[in-house]
């Protein structure tokens, strides 16, 4: 019987019950969002007593299905003020699934303001005081201390100093299979975890049995077809493993959609210095790892170990969006410097997208010079130090813009716009505007169709076809985010129909269901509707679904502008 665990941080008690009927058919984002919509008071303070934090593995997590180990984290976001689902790799989710835990809910506030480590294993839930040595420490050391204490194989979810300070860009970090760091990055969920007095959650699946499969033979056959789609598609089979997500720098630069110097233009002259090709060559030359997976069973392996000139590890999960934000938007033409910044984001436990965009905004405000790598790293290190300026930076791009009186602040619903200029990649602009998550490329990745020519083609510079594209991708993404699958599987299943069918077949074989593709679409719609309804009850209107007005300025080299009408924008999620 699947377990549903409610953990009250006020009394430090846990109630382990059967999964309520209404959540039995849900998982991942579907579960976290329906739960938040049901149980969290939409008008609550995100750091107050009415907010709840929920973790859920996906439908297929813990099985032998490749790439199924993602975890969804949900709460009301302190950054956006709306509903949030932020997902991550790492080993935590698979351990939850093997312990047959459908969801873990954290409620209440600590009576004494102290931080706890919550331990979950087959015998239940226990609470320890957080070791003094990890309070205020960097996340790498903290994971080491926790794995020394609780076992080298335990899954770890933790907050860093940024979460302890309850900064609105604080993330939740997850240990990967090697004890390095993956993050549920966006929306400040680390601050919610901090507000509940949770320094870390450790999970030990020792003694757990394998995830039950209703129809093992059918599952095995579908899993094989699914893996085949991922390994044969050139994006998931070749491009991502070889170059990582950072392969996008050069293609966005060619397309004129690589926002440079706080979104002043869409192309620069130094892009190749920070791109995936240069990064892979540098890693190879220095003896690092060009490819590894963020969770066991990943066959795409888009992550890497970026190392210094001596071959010593600096960071992993070194993603395009972070490299874009520091390398192009903040004009830091130096991959090593960006890698040290990425490491510091992980140590502090802060969203590398939000904070990197905030650095570019700080440069625009004249706080530090454009492109100054040393000044940027000093500024980022102030987050951990807790200086007033560090706290402002750690509160995100909008906070920095507000403190310095700027109007050129690239955010929607207070969340930083990532890596693709909405004037040159218009489909993703509609996603930024309308997703209930705040500006988030992953919520409906129209870049695939606008730029990469995956899943068809829609002209990035025109308006035609973009409304439907963003809508359909947002619906499909909400469903994929419920499976535990890495979103990058979409590159393969958008082009290979049997890959999509195999995904549905795996879910059916796991649970003895008979879902069809239409049911998957219906699920995506149900999730989005619940999220939109939560936001409406939290006070959001269509006025919040708008891009900042500076996007009316032409974006070189194409000199296109953001030109969707309010009616067109409002039609994206009108279904």
């Amino acid at each position: 019987m699947a377990k549903f665990i409610r953990i009250d941080m006020g009394s430090r008690t846990a109630e382990i019950g059967a999964c309520p009927e209404k959540y039995a058919g849900l998982a991942g984002r579907g579960l976290t969002s329906m739960f938040i919509a049901d149980e969290v008071k939409p008008t609550c303070h995100p750091l107050g007593k009415y907010n709840k934090l929920v973790f859920a593995p996906g439908f297929l997590t813990g099985t032998s299905a490749v790439n199924s180990g993602r975890i969804s984290c949900g709460a009301k976001s302190p950054l956006t003020g709306g509903i949030k689902e932020s997902n991550s790799g790492g080993s935590f989710s698979q351990k939850m699934a093997r312990l047959d835990i459908k969801a873990m809910v954290f409620e209440g506030l600590p009576a004494d303001g102290k931080y706890a480590v919550v331990k979950v294993d087959k015998d239940g839930v226990t609470f320890d005081e957080a070791p003094a040595e990890i309070m205020g420490a960097g996340n790498y050391d903290a994971i080491r201390v926790l794995q020394d204490k609780y076992g080298p194989k335990v899954g770890v979810a933790l907050i860093g100093p940024a979460g302890e300070m309850k900064l609105t860009a604080a993330n939740i970090s997850f240990a990967d299979p090697e004890g390095n760091i993956r993050s549920a990055g966006r929306g400040g969920l680390g601050a919610v975890m901090g507000s509940k007095g949770i320094k870390a959650v450790v999970i030990d699946d020792a003694g757990a049995s394998a995830v039950p499969i209703a129809k093992p033979e059918e599952f095995k056959s579908a899993a094989k077809r699914f893996a085949n789609a991922l390994t044969t598609h050139p994006v998931t089979g070749q491009g991502l493993p070889k170059y990582g997500t950072n392969v996008l720098v050069n293609i966005l630069n060619e397309a004129g959609g690589l926002p440079t110097e706080n979104f002043r233009r869409g192309r620069n002259e130094w892009a190749n210095n920070i791109g995936g090709e240069t990064m892979a060559a540098t890693i190879e030359e220095r003896g690092g790892k060009t490819t590894h997976g963020c969770h066991a069973g990943c066959v795409i392996r888009c992550s890497q170990h970026y190392v210094d000139k001596q071959g010593k590890y600096i960071t992993s999960g070194f993603e395009y969006e972070t490299i874009w934000a520091l390398g192009a938007d903040a004009a830091i033409d130096d991959l090593d410097a960006i890698a040290y910044a990425d490491r510091e984001f992980d140590e502090a436990g802060i969203d590398s997208i939000e904070t990197s965009v905030a650095v570019a905004v700080a440069m625009d405000a004249g706080v530090i010079p454009w492109g100054d790598a040393k000044a940027a790293l000093d500024l980022i290190k102030q987050i951990r130090q807790g200086t007033p300026l560090g706290r402002i930076l750690g509160s995100g791009a909008a906070a920095v813009g507000q403190m310095y009186g700027l109007t050129r602040v690239p955010v929607v619903k207070n969340q930083a716009i990532p890596a693709y200029d909405p004037r040159a990649v218009k489909g993703v602009g509609l996603t930024y505007a309308t997703t209930p998550m705040g500006a988030d490329h992953t919520a409906g990745y129209a870049v695939a169709t606008n730029i990469l020519r995956v899943g068809g083609f829609v002209d990035p510079l025109g308006k035609e076809g973009q409304v439907e594209l963003s809508r359909n991708l947002q619906i499909a993404t909400a469903a994929v985010d419920s499976t535990g699958m890495c979103l990058f599987i979409a590159f393969a299943i958008l082009d290979i129909p049997d890959g999509f069918n195999a995904l549905v077949d795996m879910i059916n074989a796991r649970y003895d269901l008979s879902l069809t593709g239409d049911d998957v679409t219906a699920l995506g719609k149900t999730i989005l509707k619940a999220e939109l309804d939560f936001n409406r009850r939290a006070g959001f209107t269509s006025a919040h679904d708008r891009l900042p007005e500076f996007f009316e300025e032409p974006c070189p080299p194409h000199n296109t502008v953001w030109d969707f009408t309010d009616e067109e924008i409002d039609s994206v999620l009108a279904f």
């Binding site: 050139p234 004129g256 395009y320 995956v454």
Partner: protein, 75 residues
């Protein structure tokens, strides 16, 4: 005429050693450049000419900037 050509990702190895400037007959197409560089046309998934998506049979003009990509993705 001369154009600028940039080969990326797995096509990088076809980048002319002399640099990005490429001599081409008047009216030459993307396809002509791809063949001249020794790239199999089916390995080219995305073509940009002056930052705009272009088909393989697009005729090029003096000073055009051509970007050639295999299938790539990320996000």
């Amino acid at each position: 005429m001369h154009i600028t050509v940039k080969c990326y990702a797995t096509l990088q190895r076809f980048q002319p050693t002399g640099g990005e400037v490429f001599a081409l007959r008047e009216g030459g197409t993307v396809h002509d450049v791809v063949l001249a560089l020794g790239i199999a046309p089916e390995d080219v998934a995305v073509i940009f000419v002056n930052g705009l998506h272009a088909p393989m049979d697009k005729a090029l003009a003096e000073g055009d900037r051509l970007g050639l990509f295999p299938a790539v993705g990320g996000g």
